[in-house]
Symmetry: C2
Subunit: 388 residues, 2 copies
């Protein structure tokens, strides 16, 4: 068990009609607010008007950057940083899912530097400060509302790179499950796979367990498995939306790591898929995860699969470890591809073998992915082939 | 499901040898540090010398208040507040368990007011600010290291009263499991019962469940049940001490509440026992909890016991609800009185029926305890009688 520092000072307003606190919270940081959002669904659901109303009550000055893309691009970050500098923005208000919030984090950091924000990724330029960020979450998935990371895409270089910094933690996040009522079944499913993967990247780990945290991770995985199908069938089921929303934050805010140092595996592989094909991140993860698990299963790792199968999928604990392990992968595949109805192969979504070499190469740009099992370029290609 | 605000900005250094960060953290708040502690065990285990060394490195000026009692008394709070005012203390460093940290919280608040700190309890005087608090935890139990509450005793009035305020949240807490290696088996057991009760006070609740949080609570209860006997038998088992320590913080920092409003039941009853008899808080809770559960069990509440029995004690889920419920109470009693070896009756610890009236009266000073089941004075007396 390694040492760690837990430091997640994000204030969360959870529930309906909490936006009455928005003006008060934003006002702590100044008068000029840059509102960032995506394609305009926040106008359709009436959220935009509510936000404008709350800002007016507190005499806040509103600036806007809309059109932030899924798999958000460096161009949006550059544009946002430019607005912040030109208008002397005091605080950023990101309204959206992980894409909008991730982009906003780097806008906040980009506003404080003189260089191109892509240098944060291409040159690992230091992130020493950032404008304060408040978020209103509209999609339960990435967990960006309570974590210190963000992933930005550069279509020109076909890169999709993530990075963490404590300066990027939102100050306040508003989590209203009713805001996610209009999220489609497909996006709900993809969001849940993303959360599931955030947990599995930490859970499947042969470092010494922190039992309490393993229990938490198992609880969150059970929560996702229980409530995702309900939210897909009954989009206005508050209980389902609330459970998924709070799980999205806790799956990735660092709490469950408990000092584990292992690198993630499926995320770096998936980032190459969506950088190349612009597919939904959660779909890419669903395709990869069961095959990755299958590839990593052997006598040295089987105990973790057994724990997963028994505690998450309630598989009979009296069966043999390897039998439980294989059954757990089968159950996970059934959950992703049958229950959630996601496409089950690369072929179905148009990912082609001729790109495997370059995607695998980029996924392990430091030589190997040092995750649950160390994966070389060849290992990654084999996993890609299992997805065909 | 009710709305809630999650706001726990306590930074935690978890693990061995993290005290190298102490001077840096204290220095953020000033130069003059009031170190508060209990009976001197921190000198025996070498912690005191380490702290003094770290403070010297950063040129911090050390003041001391020692002798803070278990069930800490208002006299210590008064004395500490006086030192803070006279010496212009900048930051408080509480080294101990819940008692020391609780007292320190009210010293920190008392230092900022002109009235007697007992007014915080007797007159509910406002807590509008407090000096910053850093803690070094030496006992896994109360969770005061990561919560906003504290309980203070007044032997003169035979009162023991708790109160919350966000101003009392520690800024930083150091959680080193090895510091608890010298905690006796008895104190380890009592600490674990306290944590168990913090969770059960929230878990046993007929408001609408927040499934994810119920999973977390069940995980923490399983953690306590798994690791307490190990820590008692092998006091230097790092894994056991670490799991208990991190559970102590998360059992009561507000996270698992998830908007539930229910009052606690066993804690107000127990506070009267320890106010009158000065017994260990955890022992009082062990005596009361199984009887309280037995008293509250009926057709309207049985489903929660069933969930508890199946998910925490792994009782066969195919048995009838009432059967599982009764078995779960039996298992809990066995855990407290057999596995942990705590005294199982009021008679054994000297609590006498002639005090039941007055203790029950004080436990429900507002008329009733509005907890899992509403308890009147007569109900409380009946529960006390079940403990004889």
């Amino acid at each position: 068990m390694n040492n760690f520092v837990y430091d997640v000072p994000v204030k969360v307003y959870f529930g309906e009609n909490q936006l009455s606190n928005l003006g008060k919270e934003l006002s702590k940081y100044g008068k000029k607010v840059l509102l960032t959002y995506g394609g305009g669904s926040i106008k359709k659901i009436g959220l935009y008007d509510k936000i404008v109303g709350e800002l007016e009550k507190f005499g806040l000055e509103l600036f806007e950057l809309s059109g932030i893309e899924p798999n958000p691009r460096i161009e949006s970050v550059r544009e946002g940083a430019k607005i912040c500098k030109e208008q002397n923005i005091d605080v950023l208000l990101a309204v959206g899912g992980g894409s909008t919030i991730d982009a906003t984090k780097y806008i906040a950091a980009g506003a404080c530097v003189d260089f191109d924000p892509w240098d944060f990724f291409s040159k690992w330029a230091p992130i020493e400060k950032a404008l304060p960020i408040v978020t209103i979450l509209t999609l339960s998935a990435a967990g960006s509302e309570m974590d210190s990371g963000g992933v930005i895409s550069n279509l020109e270089t076909q890169d999709k790179i993530g990075r963490l910094s404590p300066h990027l933690l939102p100050k306040v996040s508003f989590l209203d499950p009713t805001v996610t009522y209009t999220v489609s079944p497909y996006q709900t499913a993809c969001g849940s796979v993303d959360m599931m993967s955030h947990i599995m990247e930490v859970y499947f780990n042969m470092e010494k367990d922190f039992y309490m945290l393993d229990c938490f991770m198992e609880g969150m995985m059970k929560t996702i498995i229980k409530y995702t199908p309900i939210a897909m069938k009954e989009p206005e089921n508050y209980e389902a939306r609330a459970n998924l929303m709070w799980t999205s934050s806790w799956a990735i805010n660092g709490f469950v790591n408990g000092g584990k140092n292992q690198e993630w595996s499926c995320h770096p592989m998936e980032h190459e898929l969506s950088a190349k094909y612009d597919i939904t991140h959660g779909l890419g993860l669903a395709l990869l995860t069961p095959r990755w698990l299958e590839y990593c299963l052997d006598e040295t790792t089987v105990s973790k699969y057994y724990q997963f199968g028994v505690n998450v999928f309630d598989i009979d604990k009296n069966l043999g470890q390897m039998e439980v392990a294989k059954e757990s992968i089968k159950k996970l595949s059934e959950f992703f591809f049958d229950t959630l109805g996601l496409d089950s192969t690369f072929t179905k979504v148009g990912i082609k073998p001729e790109d495997f070499q370059i995607m695998a190469q980029k996924a392990c740009s430091n030589g190997t992915i040092n995750g649950f099992k160390t994966l070389s370029k060849d290992d990654i290609i084999k996993i890609f082939e299992m997805c065909l």
